[in-house]
């Protein structure tokens, strides 16, 4: 019988099971229990999106640690603790806040292994929410995973489904390298899947073939996987067969699956909610131009947000986010060879 969980509940189950499995796994973040030092309810929030709700009650203060609003110190503390025997999972409430703590990931966590001559191990996970669609405007809505994927030493995970969210988070926590784990804020409620109760791990660097097809390869990430699937449904009714690939992790990236698919279809549309410049869309397009140019029957199309901050007004935000209609139009364009 199907066991339907939301993305949020799947993430919480992964955290709980990882903590039950390994006593060195701890959680840190702002309001991840909530109510610390306040007169009312303890465990009042469970994180601003409720992902960690209830874990404080099960594991207590020593393992579910509320922090001051002080990202540079506690993200860095998670990194430091990871080099000293813990497996911290720190929540960066919104990835937009990377601006106040990026050094601890960019110059510290990412570099230890290499610059210390292979002797450091930094098993830290930074969970963070991203993405537009909540009317939270320019400083709480960005899709910034490509900035982390740019940095050698970091692994970057972008789950699109509740099933993947659980299996990839378990892998992230068991992994000995620093992992940045991107959760789309709209998917916490919208993504629901049959999620097995027993813990399972999805390996990094293995793309998911969401649907197989012959005419066009669509590579999409996060929430865009769902939009691309909608577009593919419409196109299928019109006789266009799309192969939809969800890389699931962008560092490492499953290059082979993308290249094999393009070798078969000869056409590529990449869908990425981030800004267009130096994006994963541009990166994947570049990969295919480098390694499968001979197979292309049409120019590659990138469907991304525009090069603007995320706007507030609902009509503007809706226009900012790549839509199923834009994806469909891009596919039709490559089918015409243009």
């Amino acid at each position: 019988m199907a066991r339907i969980l939301t993305y949020r509940d799947a993430l919480r189950e992964a955290l709980r099971q990882a903590m039950e499995e390994d006593p060195t796994v701890i959680l840190m973040g702002e309001d991840i229990a909530g109510g610390k030092g306040a007169p009312g309810e303890q465990d009042a929030w469970g994180g601003d999106m409720g992902v960690t709700k209830g874990l404080w009650g099960q594991f207590g203060d020593a393992r579910v640690i509320d922090t001051p609003i002080s990202e540079a110190s506690y993200i860095g503390a998670a990194v430091g603790a990871a080099t000293c025997g813990l497996r911290p999972v720190a929540e960066l409430m919104f990835v937009d806040f990377m601006g106040v703590c990026f050094d601890q990931l960019l110059n510290q966590a990412a570099k230890f292994r290499y610059m210390f001559g292979g002797k450091a191990k930094t098993p830290v996970v930074i969970r963070t929410q991203y993405g537009a669609g909540y009317r939270t405007a320019a400083q709480h809505s960005q899709t910034l995973y490509s900035m982390f994927a740019h940095v050698p030493g970091l692994k970057v995970v972008v789950p699109s489904t509740a099933y993947d969210a659980k299996g990839l988070l378990i892998s992230a926590i068991r992994d000995d390298d620093p992992v940045i784990f991107f959760e789309h804020k709209v998917l916490y409620d919208e993504a629901r899947d049959d999620v097995p109760e027993a813990p399972y791990a999805i390996p990094f660097g293995e793309a998911n073939f969401v649907r197989e097809g012959d005419d066009v390869t669509i590579v999409a990430l996060g929430r865009m996987v769902h939009f691309a699937a909608k577009a593919a449904d419409v196109l299928a009714k019109n006789g266009v067969s799309c192969e939809l690939i969800d890389p699931r992790t962008i560092s490492p990236l499953d290059e082979d699956s993308i290249l094999e698919s393009v070798e078969k279809t000869g056409r590529l549309v990449v869908v990425d909610e981030s800004y267009p410049r130096c994006s994963m869309a541009a990166d994947i397009a570049g990969l295919v131009v480098d390694k499968a140019f001979h197979a292309l029957k049409a120019p590659i199309r990138q469907v991304t947000a525009p090069h603007t901050p995320v706007p507030f007004a609902p009509v503007l935000e809706d226009a900012f986010i790549p839509s199923p209609a834009k994806i469909e139009a891009a596919v039709r364009s490559v089918m015409k060879g243009a």
């Binding site: 922090t67 000293c84 050094d103 510290q108 210390f116 292979g118 992994d175």
Partner: protein, 323 residues
């Protein structure tokens, strides 16, 4: 506090090793033998050694760009360090870190750090791990007067106090952040006063006096081990060289470095104190000097001849544990 002969001998050996290492690096850099940036710790030895004398390999420290002294004080292999400065494959970091990134986790040395203010959050993490795993160990972050003004540092002072972490914030105030005077850049004048703001004990100590540093640090480490939280120590002194090698130091007063070397040398001070108190003899100290000089010469000789990393192999390794 009366220190026994072993502690005195070991402390002198380490301070003297740092001095000899740095003087040698200064000479080597002038000849062009060393690539990159080097920032010398000469003149500040009493801080690193006075603090680290209380630590074992399981206690953690994080350091700064001026990290050679902390590495030696914490027990890093001196030959491995010299090899690293030469960028050799057998260096303590395989030639991939260099002067500003020397680390030896097996000695509890979590790394020199080329980002000013990069270290304090990491030390909070080391202290959090000690507290969570109930190891009874402590963490020390060495930070300069420049780093004292970084947001990461101020946030870490708050976090350490809020979480009551077993750690020390050792601020090494040598008077200059690069070329900028700490009397101007540190609001309030003394870093010490920030201890009060963050609700932790604070001490200011003369960094030319090993015994003063040793005593204050010992009390702070014991306090941390007892679970009573962090302590701030401001060590005041001056550096014998520039910010980095190649710094013309025109921002310093005329004769300042000469006066420091003449009147505020922690090694001279140490020698005078222990010989006057008849704890060690001049000839015993001379013998240590000679041993140290030989060891440094040997490290340089080995480093000059050692193999470079192999680009075909070493460029791409150790980015990840598994990728």
């Amino acid at each position: 506090m009366q220190l026994n002969r072993d502690v005195l001998t070991e402390s002198y050996r380490k301070m003297r090793t740092i001095r000899a290492f740095e003087e040698k690096v200064h000479d080597l850099f002038e000849t062009g033998a060393l690539p990159g940036f080097v920032h010398l710790y000469a003149g500040e030895e009493a801080s690193a050694v006075g603090v680290c004398a209380h630590l074992d390999d399981e206690d953690r420290i994080v350091s700064t760009h001026r990290g050679h002294g902390h590495c030696i004080a914490k027990g890093c292999d001196v030959e491995g360090m010299m090899l690293e400065l030469f960028g050799r494959r057998s260096g303590v970091c395989g030639g991939k870190g260099g002067s500003m990134h020397i680390a030896d986790l097996s000695k509890g040395m979590m790394g020199a750090n080329a980002i000013v203010g990069g270290g304090p959050p990491l030390a909070c993490g080391a202290a959090l791990a000690a507290k969570t795993l109930k190891t009874g160990k402590v963490a020390v972050t060495f930070t300069g007067d420049g780093g004292s003004n970084q947001g990461t540092t101020l946030e870490s002072l708050n976090l350490a106090s809020v979480w009551k972490l077993p750690m020390l914030f050792v601020f090494e105030n040598n008077g200059y952040a690069e070329s900028t005077g700490s009397g101007w850049s540190v609001a309030g004048g003394d870093i010490l006063r920030r201890a009060h703001a963050f609700d932790m004990p604070g001490f200011q100590v003369d960094g030319f006096d090993f015994f003063a540093v040793h005593e204050i640090a010992g009390e702070a480490v014991e306090r941390a081990r007892r679970g009573e939280g962090p302590t701030l120590i401001e060590v005041k002194f001056g550096r014998f060289y520039g910010h980095h090698e190649g710094d013309a130091q025109t921002y310093r007063a005329k004769g300042e470095v000469e006066r420091l070397r003449a009147d505020h040398d922690c090694l001279k001070n140490f020698r005078q104190r222990v010989t006057e108190a008849a704890l060690l003899t001049g000839s015993e100290l001379d013998a240590i000097d000679a041993e140290v000089d030989r060891a440094i010469e040997s490290a340089v000789a080995v480093s000059r001849k050692a193999a470079d990393p192999d680009p075909a192999v070493d460029l791409l390794t150790d980015v990840y544990i598994r990728y």
